[in-house]
Subunit: 308 residues, 2 copies
Amino acid sequence: MSKLLIVGTVAFDAIETPFGKTDKILGGAGTFIGLSASTFGIKSGIVSVVGGDFPQEYLDMLEAKNIDTSGIEIVKDGKTFFWSGKYHNDMNSRDTLITELNVLEHFNPVVPETFKDSKIVMLGNLHPAIQMSVIKQMTKKPKLIVLDTMDFWMNVALEDLKAVIKEIDVITINDEEARQLSGEYSLVNAAKKIHEMGPKYVVIKKGEHGALLFSEGKMFYAPALPLAAVFDPTGAGDTFAGGFTGYLAKTDNISFDNMKNAVIYGSNLASFCVERFGTERMQSLTQQEIKDRLQQFKSLTQFDIELE
Amino acid sequence: MSKLLIVGTVAFDAIETPFGKTDKILGGAGTFIGLSASTFGIKSGIVSVVGGDFPQEYLDMLEAKNIDTSGIEIVKDGKTFFWSGKYHNDMNSRDTLITELNVLEHFNPVVPETFKDSKIVMLGNLHPAIQMSVIKQMTKKPKLIVLDTMDFWMNVALEDLKAVIKEIDVITINDEEARQLSGEYSLVNAAKKIHEMGPKYVVIKKGEHGALLFSEGKMFYAPALPLAAVFDPTGAGDTFAGGFTGYLAKTDNISFDNMKNAVIYGSNLASFCVERFGTERMQSLTQQEIKDRLQQFKSLTQFDIELE
């Protein structure tokens, strides 16, 4: 088992979908990654920042899941990062209604001493300079650094993004972003170009169409589980990343074959996340439910063609 | 091994893609289905109609692939169906430039005596009344009737379409069409509604995102092989259908587990079809190439998670 360091927002979200709307609820990439990774019973810690308005009970809930919160700085007179969004009827697109950076604006991540030797580092979607600052604080070279990012940083901080991409092992990115970053329409060619920018592994997330893992000419495809209803897609990508890194931390094996399993676990956990608003489903998830759904993933994808 | 009866257009296509354009070349759903199914070395026959302008060499080529062309009526003083289209840069959408129905306008399909007892029937995309007429000519109830259709028939002949859908076992349809036909956005719910309309099996084609097979609460997912370049998507769906039915005819087994293999074969063959203009790639395809690519499909999708 390896220690997992997670860097990402811990935040308030207010979400509107065709199924209803919420007040300010617990959200943030770091939160979703942490909850997802915690299903593997590993030792993980989140580096983030919140305001004095952030309820202690949320931190207690994370601690109860064996997630170390000592790296979550509390700015007493500040306000927690707040995002509000509204999903369209197809649930594949959304409008951002409110973004209040608040304490995130001056976030200076500090990695706790006990996590400076983490073998796996998951850098959630944040300014690439913040992601870089975390890498620089590691006292021992991690076995695997995984980075999530988005088009916003390509538009406003491309040079910083390119610099941090050079330093990491796995990038997770969606299909449109992979096309934007590489200038290639074909995802096969996009992955090749992104490899050349640094990361040995490229994970391309395609939302309801699943995720592709690329490395050195090898490819693996994990479908998303087709669902009767997607209730709230918020956090699905982060939950995927938490499942991916949580599984790798638990198994302490970063071979391509083991990464195949990791993307399946990521996809599996993401399929739960979207069943309820915010983190609700991830908080109540049981090991038996995870196992039952993995069985569904096997039925969905495994076939038996013999090739002589 | 079962006999396979194929009904579908045999036609001329003129295609323009970002990679180039063609004059009138061999096309048509029946042609693509036949060429794809022929890779299984089965006995198949095409029911269709062409004009006096249709080159004998094309018919000879089909016969050389062991495809019976006696059901292809030749209207000496008529012209062959002609379609011309132009693909956009993303290759996922296209504009129809020309549709000349010609001999197809008065097509009255006649199933040859030797194919009236076919165990597998593949009804390519045509007016649903024509599809129905073929079913009525069968002297022995087929083991499996597969129907392909499109949104056009939902718009202009919905009642005819609903009538024929009641009589068939498998429908192949794309995701948008499944949503239109069922009125359900979720593909899981769409498949359920379409089951209730008749077919026990529903295959939803998602283009570059693969295909889903549904039956009685069971689901299977066959990805499309991610390709560096898609040269010409024309005929990919028909090639999929030909691979699906060709494999089922060869193995003479319509269990759900065997249908999983059939959709993988369909997806495998479709991945070749798009590599060249028209039927070019399918005409030159070898058994070794098919086998090598199936190995790629296995690597792409098979994983090894043990569940106690």
